[in-house]
Symmetry: C2
Subunit: 325 residues, 2 copies
């Protein structure tokens, strides 16, 4: 049992905290009714709403000794927003459910809010509501809403034989950053900072995912479970085979750390999760948006074939219950 | 550390569990894209979506030794759906984020799903997506979406001087049920079952809330924090005073248990949370829907005045961080 002190959630109380949080949240003109009521009202201009949810649990998805509250907020918002744009939806609103111990410093909760708010603002979305509860460990659960603005949604199931497999972003950086944070190897101050940052505060190119959708992508996923796993989801949902050439993947940022700790950087690039790059399939007749590159093609068959490396020895992707008991 | 066994989440795995859950979830015709993709697509027929979120944490909001998984699912779905209908919105979709220990029996997770699904079905809503994570204690976080079908939303801030204060449902039953479950008093088998059930599986009259909205309620809340607290939210948001006559409240179901354990049943009726009755303010010129009754009126001023009993000795409503450290 922790004695509540000055400046923690117990001393401020639930309604005091809500009031402090609300003061940090500007609302876009698409928000008809924002935080402070039983529910929010948001425009859905074309008569459809795209919705997703993603939850993060302390010591499973994040650690308070590795990440600032703002980084944690930014990362969990990004996971939700990336899911929306991968369907071609422009994010409009986030709802945030937050559970925390009573001795959590108020400043931590406010910094979390800033991280959530600022990441959402990159896409034009507002935080329109939420819920606060007590728990032994911090849990942040977000639901994100978006608009297709009259477009068709891009599904996992839309890949067509003959499509190119296209990647937007670099995979493996977050997994490499996690490996670095988890290891006790000696690195110089600032060395591999890009990898550490990729794990703690992913830089998601939302516009590029929307550009792929507008260009006519037939299917798309964000790479949250790992490239092989997420491409496998597309292959399975679409009833096709995705064949990729691993030599097309950019390992340049991974090589240094991989050599130092003696792992194959290809494993990070193919199976590392939480990168929030985007993998799509699209007709070869389309002009690809700048920043995307072709890594393979869609064939008759099933599953994912990888040319240029042997992946049979790796487990593909992340399973919350299988991996770590 | 628990060794995973046959029939628990660890042995089935995240993707196996998702597949078992999805098989339980029919989708309404308003769902364009349901579970299994990165996001769902749901119709928002009038160009607006109403959205809310509510989270429940094991041993804070529910106990596995008091409630079945199905009861827990039903109750947390009801909390979200009641928030929607209190704004005059017809529920269309739920998103469910679920964290649990790896040794949780698969059957528990499936029964939870049935509870969520069946409660949602009472309003016509479908479970359109979710997220699953690992945690030491169970956390269920729901976001619920609804449609106003062309109506204006009913806000907390709409109460007008001269309105009647109207209650739909009975307050205090859930608090009395909680008092019974928490006490070690001897009761005959089946005695006070209605109170126990009111706490474990609230019976929410969604249609009555929508009827109040359609009848033109100026403001409405569901009574989740307690009647005084929720009416206080309306008074504050609307800049008015709400005066209620406590003698209008129905204590008949509370009296027996209250006498037995020596408490004032009025306290349960005025400050007990989680009843998901609805309190509204509405013009006196309107024909009230059957099942609602007048408990007071809206006056110039601020706060909540209670006639017929002395409430000064009670703390009004529930604060997650103040109440229990």
């Amino acid at each position: 049992m922790t004695i509540p002190g000055n400046g923690d959630l117990a001393s401020l109380g639930e309604f005091g905290l809500i009031s402090r949080i609300q003061a940090l949240l500007p609302q876009s003109e698409e928000v008809i009714l924002g935080p402070g009521d039983d529910a929010a009202i948001v425009k859905a201009v074309d008569g459809y709403v795209v919705a997703t949810t993603d939850m993060a649990v302390e010591d499973i998805h994040f650690r308070r000794d590795w990440s600032t509250a703002k980084q944690i907020g930014s990362k969990i918002a990004a996971a939700n927003l990336a899911d929306l744009v991968s369907k071609g939806a422009r994010p409009t609103a986030l709802l945030v459910a937050f559970a925390a111990p009573a001795d959590l410093p108020v400043e931590w909760a406010l910094d979390l809010t800033l991280g959530l708010r600022d990441e959402a603002a990159k896409t034009g979305a507002s935080i329109v509501g939420g819920d606060i509860a007590r728990a032994e460990k911090i849990v942040i659960s977000i639901a994100a809403l978006g608009s297709l603005d009259g477009r068709e949604g891009v599904r996992r199931s839309g890949a067509k034989v003959g499509d190119l497999v296209v990647l937007a972003g670099t995979t493996g950086l977050s997994a490499a950053g996690l490996a670095l944070l988890s290891s006790d190897i000696d690195v110089a101050l600032g060395e591999f900072n890009e990898l550490r940052t990729a794990h703690l505060t992913p830089d998601v190119n939302y516009d590029l995912a929307l550009a792929l959708a507008i260009a006519g992508a037939h299917s798309m996923c964000d790479v949250s479970d790992g490239l092989l796993a997420d491409l496998g989801h597309i292959a399975q949902a679409s009833g096709v085979k995705c064949q990729i050439d691993a030599t097309k993947l950019d390992l340049s940022k991974l090589q240094g750390l991989a050599t130092k700790i003696g792992v194959d950087p290809m494993r990070w690039a193919l199976t590392g999760g939480e990168d929030h790059a985007f993998v799509a399939t699209i007709s070869p007749d389309v002009d690809l948006p700048d920043g995307t590159f072709v890594i393979g093609e869609v064939l008759v068959g099933s599953g994912v074939d990888v040319l240029g490396t042997d992946v049979s020895k790796w487990q593909a992707g992340h399973d919350h219950f299988h991996r770590i008991i």
